[in-house]
């Protein structure tokens, strides 16, 4: 692979980071992930009524979606619930990960760990039925029937999805830096903010992203917990499943994708300007 007689700097050319074939697998993965997305985008411009039978190019479904208040409201509601649920679940999961990973074993750690992962252990329908019955009692008792139930249900369901990546990050993380900071008379909070938090950041970002997409996709729990006028995009689609799904949802998805991509691009341009050197 490399010339063994070469001086030390040449040795660097043999990148220690590269694993043969890994990049190709990764690229294939990315391509495969986007193949169905291309299909979704293409069919959003279908002039026919089908998501699988191409009839011609048209913007008809964008017009349909534009006029359909119900589907727009459902989409916005989905995003709002996902935003709240992912923030809440990421915050509590970060705290719990600090509590259960940092600084060794303690009494009750396994109990907490199993409890946090519990939502993964039963099919969603079971949680859904239980929540329906429990929340209905609260609804009748309090008279409040707003979105908070859905947000709470989603947030709780998303906790393990946020927790596990954060914990994976924290486990075996060097506590020396934190101790050093403490030695330098940093307050615990300062040490946490300046040292631990930045080190945890990639785990938190990964966890929050997972929580967001899990909440955005959730259908069965939502179907059972939602009250009048609280359809989300997935439950709207579930209702269409028995009949025929039209490219309207493709159009909505495409718009959502476009907004995401634009926001991301803006974000990256802005942060690049602020910190030219990473």
């Amino acid at each position: 692979m490399t010339d063994t007689t070469a001086p030390r700097p040449r040795r660097k050319a043999f990148s220690v980071r590269t694993m043969p074939g890994f990049s190709s697998i990764a690229i294939v993965c990315f391509l495969a992930l986007y193949a169905p997305i291309v299909v979704i985008v293409v069919y959003s411009f279908n002039s026919g009524n089908s998501i699988a039978l191409w009839e011609g190019l048209s913007l008809k479904w964008y017009a349909t979606a534009w006029q359909n208040d119900a589907v727009q409201e459902a989409t916005i509601r989905s995003v709002i619930i996902a935003a709240f649920a992912s923030v809440i679940s990421t915050v509590v999961a970060t705290m719990a990960a600090l509590g259960t990973t940092h600084g060794g074993d303690f009494r009750g750690r396994t109990v907490i760990y199993l409890l946090i992962n519990q939502p993964l252990m039963v099919p969603e329908i079971v949680t859904a039925v239980a929540l329906l019955i429990f929340f209905s009692m609260i609804r009748i008792a309090t008279g409040y029937s707003g979105l908070a139930y859905l947000i709470a249900a989603h947030a709780a369901f998303c906790v393990p999805f946020a927790y596990l990546p954060i914990r994976a990050r924290l486990e075996g993380m060097d506590t020396m830096l934190e101790l050093a900071a403490a030695d330098l008379y940093a307050t615990p909070w300062r040490a946490f903010r300046r040292v631990t938090l930045p080190l945890m950041a990639p785990g938190i970002v990964a966890g929050a992203m997972l929580a967001f997409v899990i909440s955005l996709d959730d259908v069965i729990i939502t179907e059972f917990v939602k009250a009048a006028g609280q359809d989300t995009l997935p439950t709207y689609m579930l209702g269409q499943l028995r009949r025929a799904i039209t490219p309207e949802v493709n159009a909505i998805s495409t718009i959502l994708l476009a907004i995401t991509v634009i926001l991301l691009t803006l974000f990256f341009i802005l942060t690049r300007k602020r910190s030219p050197k990473a």
């Binding site: 252990m121 709470a152 992203m209």
Partner: protein
Amino acid sequence: MSAVEISPAAGTDQEARAEAARTRRNWLLSLPAVILLLFAASGPLVIVLIYSFLTPGDYSGVKWIPTFDAWTSILFSRDIFDDTLRLADAHLTIFWRSASLSLLTTLITFLLGFPTAYFIATRPPRQRGLWLFLITIPFWTNLLIRTFAIMEVIRNEGLLNKLLMMTGLISEPLQILYSDTAVLIGMAYVYLPLMVLPLYAALERFDFRLVEAGYDLYAGRWMVLRKVILPLVKPGIVAGSILVFMPSLGAYVTPRVLGGGKHMMIGSFIELQFGQGRNWPLGASLSMLLLLIVGIGLFFYVRAMSKEKAHD
């Protein structure tokens, strides 16, 4: 945070107090998550547990007549024709199919996800966020519509078959749709980010000087991968496989749409009991049993993993 821990422990009394303080602190940190879960996930499951000991209602729900029927009928069912009590092999078949399919899904997502996470973690730091987003963006579209799009890709006249035929690899379109292969492709697709993100979180902090040291000691790439990299990212592997294995056990949409729904999985079987089957207690007892098995499995899995780590 760690101020308590580093205060030099003078005597056992002080040590015990420090220990108690640490336990208290850790519990306090975990408390919001515990409360949230008890309120909106695990707590209400008590209702399901109670239901599993009741009699099915005539048309849905339950009647408040206590019985163990739901539990015994998981393993033994009375034959509806000759009324003999026998092993409920249908339940076992369904359970076994779900478990093996989930295991395969976990394996596939790991084999694809590890190189992908590695790839992202070895990009320049500024680019990593972008690649991470690239992994999650496909999941901003709805699961159902995504599953239908996968169907469009793998159907007989779909993208994949056309591509394969164009390259001359096959001459006849492959019937992938409505097969176990289709379910595996779909599940691997749906659960890939659940594997990649935790792996990335663990890999990202990885110190590549260790790899360099490995090479300096004339270890081959495979050796370095196995002896240096994998053990260090084990927490990520644990997290990823939990996140993929457990939800795929209860997966419902993907097997039904891509597999054609001809074979039941544990998720759809439990769904049937709460829906058209009108047997809530059986659905409840099945899910409680699942909770028990998976919970115990997780307990030993995590314990084995942390033990191994202690040995390293």
